[in-house]
Symmetry: C2
Subunit: 325 residues, 2 copies
Amino acid sequence: MLSELGERKVIEIIHNIIEKRLDFKPDFDDSVFVKLPSSDYLVLHTDVLNESTDFVEEMGFYNFGWKAVISNLSDVACKGAKPLGILFSFSIPNKINLDNFEKMVKGICDACKENDVIYLGGDTSSSNELSIAGFTFGITKRIVKRKGAKVGDLVGVTGKFGLNSIAYEILFKKIKSDETIKDLSLANLFKPKGRIKEALMISSFLNCCMDISDGLAISLNQLCELNGLGAKIFNIPIHEKVYEFCEMNNLDPLELSLYKGGEEYEILFCFEEKYLEDIRNILTSLGCEFNVIGKVTKEKKLIYDDGKRSFIIENRGWEHFKKWL
Amino acid sequence: MLSELGERKVIEIIHNIIEKRLDFKPDFDDSVFVKLPSSDYLVLHTDVLNESTDFVEEMGFYNFGWKAVISNLSDVACKGAKPLGILFSFSIPNKINLDNFEKMVKGICDACKENDVIYLGGDTSSSNELSIAGFTFGITKRIVKRKGAKVGDLVGVTGKFGLNSIAYEILFKKIKSDETIKDLSLANLFKPKGRIKEALMISSFLNCCMDISDGLAISLNQLCELNGLGAKIFNIPIHEKVYEFCEMNNLDPLELSLYKGGEEYEILFCFEEKYLEDIRNILTSLGCEFNVIGKVTKEKKLIYDDGKRSFIIENRGWEHFKKWL
């Protein structure tokens, strides 16, 4: 049964079959790239959202469409490639309400417009569950991979963390919250802004980059593992409302932000210290929160140490199939 | 309810929203294309298969994977672009059997190998229904669209028709058949060869091209409608076993082949008469059945006339959402 395996194990099974049958070792990066005759790189990415896994009533169909676009564009932009267009394969249950379907398509259109991407069309088929698979592509002269970090690089992130974790607590554990925090955290989860422009504008300064979709702790662990390096993290930017919520509910803001989040679509990247001011200037000019959170180390350990608390950042969080690990 | 609308109506709704919100008129072609800086065209296509719509027990998971590849490559090859790679977004139910999942991935790999296409990876997500959305792309200097036919062009097809119609009769209407015909027709439906190499090798001679996935009558009608022209069809190549099956079951082979088929992944194309021998030589050298079935006319009527029978070829057949029209 797949449910016992978890998503990364499933990907491993797929890759093993590909290697055996096609004699081809897939890159474990999130997007794929192909060198064009012009020597530019074509970057391609696909991301699928399913109603039973990715949709809740509170989200609304407009946001479902919106999010499907952002989750696709985010990965291509992280590679340093401007997303040029997007296609969708819709699997649609016969019982779907037409009004909801139209809202979803409007959400897709608006997210495309916001990010200057052409929605080019796609396929439709009937099914028992609403499933929307997006496919996007972009072109770049230089690819920023998830692998490329060097010892001594600074580790940076956009945004502040913890709001999506609160949203999950409210939705799935029915934890009570005041309305302001609830609205803020649900909006953050359901209609992610994405860092498409931000990722593109700083890409030339980065050694590696990825978006944060499976939770901060998992993303940090992936980054270290892929690069065969470690990191010392000394600062996790946490949204001010998260402290408030945690105090009310007797929760640890750091634990919450690291392990209970996901789908922030903020970006995580490594760069040489000499580019710090360039990156800060660009992100500040875009009104984007930016923080240096740590440093890449040779020792293959991912350690949190802010002078007061020190611990190993474990590789756990939300994952498809296994739900909460 | 979408089920009352049919797939083409759904596509119309999507296109209307795109036009209003994005001020962009999507091309009604099956694949989309983008001009690259090198002035080549990037051709992109997505096609999704769902278990409840596209899978039956008799098919097996290996063929499900195989077919998902062929249905994607076919459209890109029809445009004259060699498919370079394919990505898949898998939506997988937790209850799926691991052995079946592996068979499906093997079918995907083998179809890629057969057609010299790299399976690059993709996304996985959990869902209630197995859904596999494929995305493929290719590059070409010259695009062969579905629009481009000229009055006087010959209309050609690869392959012979009727076997898939028999398969549908056996599967969905439980009509009895002898084992040879049954095996032949089910294999034809479940493991389509596709005409990837064939389409590419004749593409420079074609004015327009499309693959036949919704049934021959619908494809012929689409071709006429898109081109704002008509056609006189004088010959539909029908597989010899279809006559045998029809005699046994008191069915009309022509009616069956035109209106009850689908997913043949044979190709339908128009070309100037002067290229007839070139096309015939290429297709014959590939061991591919080829027939001229008609001629493009200025009068916007799609007429069948073989000297014995004459009728209008109606725009009906299988369609998603509405099932049998």
